[in-house]
């Protein structure tokens, strides 16, 4: 217990001092996971809409795959993205391996199914007749889709929160494709793993507190938007 209290005290001191390295790690975490979440929303919302609104052979299988993807193990993603980006791999010429770009790609693959799956669920809970009603009031197809997204905005903000929460807290993929290089690809989770393995619990606790704080602030902001609109 003493170890924990000691760790927390030192962590607070570290944060209060404004340690440049720790803050650099936090900023990179936000950048990588923020970018991955935004990209996942850009890809996932249209795909989720398309899956919800169209009927084609194999659709149910595809939805099952998406639902499976919502729980994709980050190490599996890390493995495949590593192979893909390996110097001798199919996309090796991009020279993305051990860069933040590789981490964004891996996190995008983790977050996209979450966004697709939750968008699909959010749109499917709107009755079919609502779509017909919008068309019956003279909406063009793009206008109808916009109204649908507006109607589903609360669960879709939840999709954004779930996607962001999923990627900012994952460690396996970031470690494998980013390499935890100090000053370049070290993020809060990979740094926490490293410091813990070294026995530097105070730094590890400081990093963890920062991670929790970021997750809280991002979710609080999204919840505020969600609840303000719902009021």
């Amino acid at each position: 217990m003493a170890l924990l209290w000691d760790g927390i005290r030192q962590a607070i001191a570290l944060l209060a001092r404004g340690d440049a390295e720790v803050f650099g790690i936090a900023v990179l975490s936000l950048e990588v996971s923020g970018a991955a979440t935004v990209l996942a929303l850009l890809v996932g919302i249209p795909l989720g809409l398309a899956l919800a609104l169209t009927r084609f052979p194999g659709r149910t299988l595809l939805i099952s795959l998406v639902n499976t993807g919502m729980g994709l193990p980050p190490v599996v993603v890390g493995l495949f993205v590593s192979i893909l980006l390996w110097r001798s791999g199919p996309l090796g010429f991009l020279e993305w391996i051990y860069t933040p770009t590789a981490m964004i790609l891996a996190q995008l693959i983790i977050a996209a199914p979450i966004v697709i799956g939750l968008t699909l669920a959010a749109i499917q809970q709107i009755p079919d007749t609502f779509r017909l009603q919008m068309l019956g009031l003279g909406a063009s197809r793009p206008q109808m889709l916009r109204v649908l997204i507006q109607e589903a905005r609360l669960p879709m903000l939840a999709a954004a929160m779930a996607g962001f929460g999923g990627v900012i807290s994952e460690v396996g993929a970031s470690l494998m494709v980013g390499g935890n290089i100090r000053g370049r690809t070290r993020v809060l989770t990979t740094a926490t793993v490293l410091e813990t393995s070294k026995g530097d619990f105070d730094v590890a606790i400081a990093l963890s507190l920062l991670l929790l704080l970021i997750m809280f602030l991002v979710n609080a902001a999204l919840t505020w938007i969600q609840q303000r609109r719902a009021g």
Binding site: L132, Q133, G136, L137, G138, A139, Q143, V147, Q150, E151
Partner: protein, 363 residues
């Protein structure tokens, strides 16, 4: 002039014919009701008219011009549809009413003016700032109707707009909407399973059964003279009995049905088999077996009360007089006349009350 014309229209679901409309024209300015039991295809027909569903075969013309791919949106925007559920968007009442105007990119000032006018007409102006999801069922449907009429559609399509409402709000809304539609002369197609709504609102009624329009006429004629016993039952005729014409002269047919002699003001040939249809509200009941007392009511049938069912403010009394004859009378009459099961009664109705369906087979 017709606003919408359908030709050679069919809809098939997995090969089964769900809708078969060789020809249908909906005229300008009136209220055209499509009635029929659930699953008869009337909502499908309405969706096709509103360009919300594509038929398997056939064409839809709007003001004589064929509606094809690129014109669909433009034509769809000259109509407006209201469904059974209000299907309001999750925003304010005002924004809901302005929604279709936004789709048409009407400027904000005009949007406001028009939305306010229609909120006023449906008596929900006070609710303009409320979240639509907090409205009662009646208020929500008023909002849905205002949202459609604010578009000043050339054709208003209503799909069972009252059937999710409780009776008091339904009755006032039917009356309010009827007044608005008549004043504005909005061409309207009303789909309903409720013949009373159709009778209250429509200028013309079509009856649909199993995907086909089986009869189309003014409400007065349609409710009086159904062409088949199926339509007869649907339009509220409860006494349906087969008989044979014994004599016919001066526009009065005398027929025998279930052992009773009945006179009907109609044309038919002697020996012809006919089906007699009689509305329950056209029958009066008198206790006991009345012999004479001159009256203009030509038919006087004696029988016993088989059943008294009290429902919806009035009682249905089934009299067994060789065939089951149904009369609709007030609770008060039931009690005052002592109409209990087994009581002897005389059922009286005029020769002009029944309608005869000629069965076209002369025995």
């Amino acid at each position: 002039m017709s606003v919408v014309t359908l030709t050679a229209l069919t809809v098939r679901y997995r090969g089964a014919l769900a809708l078969d409309i060789p020809e249908l024209a909906i005229d300008e300015g009136g209220i055209f009701a499509i009635i029929g039991p659930n699953g008869s295809g009337k909502s499908t027909l309405l969706r096709i008219i509103g360009l919300l569903q594509r038929p398997t075969t056939g064409e839809v013309r709007f003001r004589d011009a064929l509606v094809s791919g690129p014109r669909q949106l433009e034509v769809r925007r000259r109509m407006a549809t209201v469904f059974q559920e209000p299907l309001l968007a999750d925003t304010t009442v005002f924004e809901n009413v302005a929604l279709g105007l936004r789709f048409r990119r009407i400027p904000a000032a005009e949007r406001r003016r028009r939305a306010e006018r229609w909120l006023e007409r449906f008596g929900i102006r006070d609710l303009a700032g409320r979240r639509a999801r907090t409205l009662s069922g009646g208020e929500a449907q008023r909002c849905a109707l205002a949202r459609a009429l604010v578009l000043e559609p050339e054709m208003l399509l209503l799909d069972e707009p009252f059937s999710a409402l409780d009776p008091p709000s339904r009755d006032t809304l039917v009356a309010d909407l009827g007044a608005i539609l008549r004043r504005e002369r909005v061409s309207t197609v009303l789909v309903t399973h409720d013949r009373i709504e159709a009778r209250a609102l429509a200028d013309r009624v079509a009856v649909m059964m199993r995907g086909r329009i089986v009869q189309q006429d003014t409400p007065e004629r349609l409710f009086r003279t159904p062409i088949s016993d199926e339509v007869a039952r649907f339009v509220g005729i409860e006494t349906i009995v087969d008989g044979r014409v014994e004599s016919s002269s001066a526009g009065v047919v005398r027929l025998e049905a279930g052992g009773q002699k009945i006179q009907v003001a109609a044309e038919a040939m002697v020996g012809e088999r006919v089906r007699l249809c009689l509305r329950p509200e056209d029958v009066t009941l008198t206790p006991g077996a009345i012999v004479a007392a001159p009256s203009s009511a030509r038919n006087r049938l004696t029988g016993t009360v088989a059943e008294v069912v009290r429902a919806g403010g009035q009682a249905r009394v089934v009299v067994d007089c060789g065939f089951p004859l149904v009369a609709l009378i007030t609770y008060q009459s039931v009690d005052e006349l002592g109409l209990t099961e087994g009581a002897r009664v005389t059922a009286t109705f005029k020769a002009t009350a029944p309608h005869l369906i000629r069965l076209n087979t002369i025995a």
